[in-house]
Symmetry: C2
Subunit: 406 residues, 2 copies
């Protein structure tokens, strides 16, 4: 009898070469031997996608998105066929499916399609025959039979959506790291792998700079309450569970520290303190597709104010230009661009019910003589903009302060 269905997703680095594909096959088979039904979602081999993009670039720098999907979807198709062969070699039954064959029906937004439904009949049929079903991640098909791709993090999304549709008992996301850490171990060697974290905390951490999983698949997992297990494809150790609620003997206030160095700060000085001024600026930035992140309005002198905001570094030149134009139109003062900033954030659902967390954060930074330039808070996070050169010191000090070390 089946012990239930497990969906396992393996990213590109987990299937980067023949040996790794064989490792994945061995792991999948070990679950089959334990009595689980298995649906395996696979990304394209290592750098295949980048190579195909480079090839397309040589032909057309502005390729049709439909044709790009046609091209890139071959990457996962190669992976699923090879993984099926590797599982056969171990003496187990397996069958591979493209996104289309796996019933992943999407809308028609090529290169960033959204799954509209999954027709799981073919997968269920093969599972019933006792086969391990391997589905190409990242891709689907629209109602016109065109091949679509789901955009960044698309394979995770395929896995989560299949886990929901097939009512899986578990959805395992295999990656090249051991799980989610309290902070980046390259910055703080004492960083600890988190055993369990809530969807909300993970979403907050992803939006603040943690790069293990894309927000999109976490959101879908949260919506349908699909428990995720993020773990390493190179070890048997358990990784991090991402779930609805984490029960602990003693509640942890701060669960993780994130760092984002990819933003720039723009300050518009001496803005006339009149209604509609901020609206005009941020509308123009939105029109130019600049995504503004933090916004702080410092009330300074009477009838005048400074507005500071952060944007992705890649957009900072464009945003500065727009801001200068608006400044002259509304009679504001100088526009200052600062590329040397970093955002340090603390994240934890425990903050909701604990006082003094913000004060604790500010105190640590002050003690380390780190000036805070902007502050932004949410229900479960507090972020500070500081000078970039203090970033690592800040992360380590906060990690220590909130007791996250091993």
């Amino acid at each position: 009898m089946s012990k239930g269905l497990v969906v396992q997703k393996f990213g590109g680095s987990s299937v980067a070469n023949v040996e790794r594909i064989q490792n994945v096959a061995t792991r999948v088979v070990s679950y089959r031997k334990k009595g689980f039904d298995l649906v395996v979602v696979v990304s394209a081999l290592g750098d295949t996608t980048d190579e195909l993009i480079a090839l397309a670039d040589k032909i057309n720098m502005n390729p049709s998105e439909r044709e790009m999907d046609m091209l890139l979807s071959t990457g996962e198709q190669i992976s699923v066929a090879l993984l099926a062969m590797a599982i056969h070699k171990l003496g187990f039954e397996a069958i591979s499916f493209t996104g289309a064959q796996g019933g992943i029906i999407t809308d028609s937004s090529h290169t960033r399609a959204r799954i509209i439904r999954i027709n799981g009949d073919k997968i269920k049929e093969e599972l019933k025959k006792g086969k391990i079903v391997i589905v190409a991640g990242f891709q689907g098909i629209n109602l016109n039979q065109d091949i679509t791709t789901l955009g960044r993090g698309g394979s995770d999304l395929t896995a989560v959506a299949l886990a929901k549709e097939l009512n899986a008992s578990s959805c395992e996301i295999y990656t090249d790291v051991q799980g989610i850490y309290t902070t980046d171990p390259r910055i703080e060697p004492k960083a600890r792998k988190i055993k369990a974290i809530t969807y909300d905390e993970m979403l907050e951490m992803a939006s603040l700079g943690a790069q293990v999983m894309q927000s999109r698949s976490i959101e879908v997992a949260k919506k349908f309450n699909v428990p995720l297990h993020v773990r390493s494809s190179f070890s048997k150790n358990p990784g991090t569970m991402i779930i609805k609620e984490v029960k602990k003997m003693e509640e942890v206030v701060v669960n993780g520290i994130t760092l984002n160095k990819n933003e720039a700060k723009i300050t518009l000085c001496n803005v006339p303190d009149k209604p509609g001024v901020a609206v005009k600026l941020f509308e123009e930035l939105a029109c130019a597709q600049v995504s503004v992140d933090m916004i702080v309005q410092n009330v300074g002198h009477i009838r005048q104010t400074d507005i500071s905001f952060t944007v992705p570094k890649a957009d900072s030149a464009k945003a500065t230009k727009i801001t200068k134009r608006v400044a002259s139109e509304i009679g504001a003062g100088d526009v200052l661009l600062d590329n040397d900033i970093a955002r340090v954030s603390i994240v934890g659902v425990g903050m909701k019910s604990h006082h003094g967390v913000a004060a604790g954060m500010f105190g640590v930074l002050a003690k380390n003589k780190i000036n805070i330039e902007m502050i932004s808070t949410s229900d479960i996070s507090i972020s500070c903009i500081i000078k970039k050169r203090f970033a690592e010191t800040a992360v380590r000090a906060l990690h220590e302060k909130f007791g996250l070390a091993k």
Copy 2:
């Protein structure tokens, strides 16, 4: 108004790199500019298929044929997407289809599937919109939605089948040679490109060693009377038309000379001249999947005979072993294997109505002191087995004798 529909097929060497893909796009667009509707069939880029096979071999030396089709079909999918991008770059509308999207429905014989029908609706729809339609060659889909491939020469078959289904006015097979030659120009530099040749002659030449097109697609073209134009993708010169009947002022007797050095001759000596002896030998060879080509039984001494036959060189060891076993069972004499043979053939529909062609062939060989070891004839061809070292001399002498030179 459209001038009619042309189906164009480009093989792997025609799309081996970015520059060649751009050349193909330019050629396709030149036809569009002249007012033709276009369906373009493309093979996988250069060595892609071989590379994928090598990759599969590393994982499983005996891969599932279904998974092999899943894997190999990505090759043409890459080609069609890139060609669509290249055509877009030239400012023309184009859309790519996999075999499945193109409605190529096959049986389930993976790696050598047969087309059972074509659902051309989607292609017709896009043609109506004025788009150049690009279809992946070599592949289709069975009724269970599994991807299939058509085996060797499969892309030609896709093109011919589409030309028939869509009622194309012409089906152009682009290749890396200029067309069909009276004989291999590497052997006889005076070899001449044939302007037009019948399906039957082409089939005979293909079966006798000419390697430009596989018999399978010529058979389908013949069955549905689809005129084929075999020509070079690197030049604008017309190639060779393959059609039902060639009208000429003066009928040509011999249209081409072929040479095949890939066979070996086996002779079973002193066979008791009793019914059922030959049957036993060739049944056993058939059971072992050895394909026997020419068979000659020389009536020699009374109540004893020699039987000679040719087999592909790759099978000669196996065939010799079987023949030796049969020899001892039936009380026959020695078994002789000769790997140093060649088959020279002359082909032409004109032979049917001309006398003395065989005599002419034998005379030329005799004049050149070339001994004939076996002879075999069909309605439109005569083949002689000779010693391999005389092969090129024979080809050149026959080419001269039958007036095929430029």
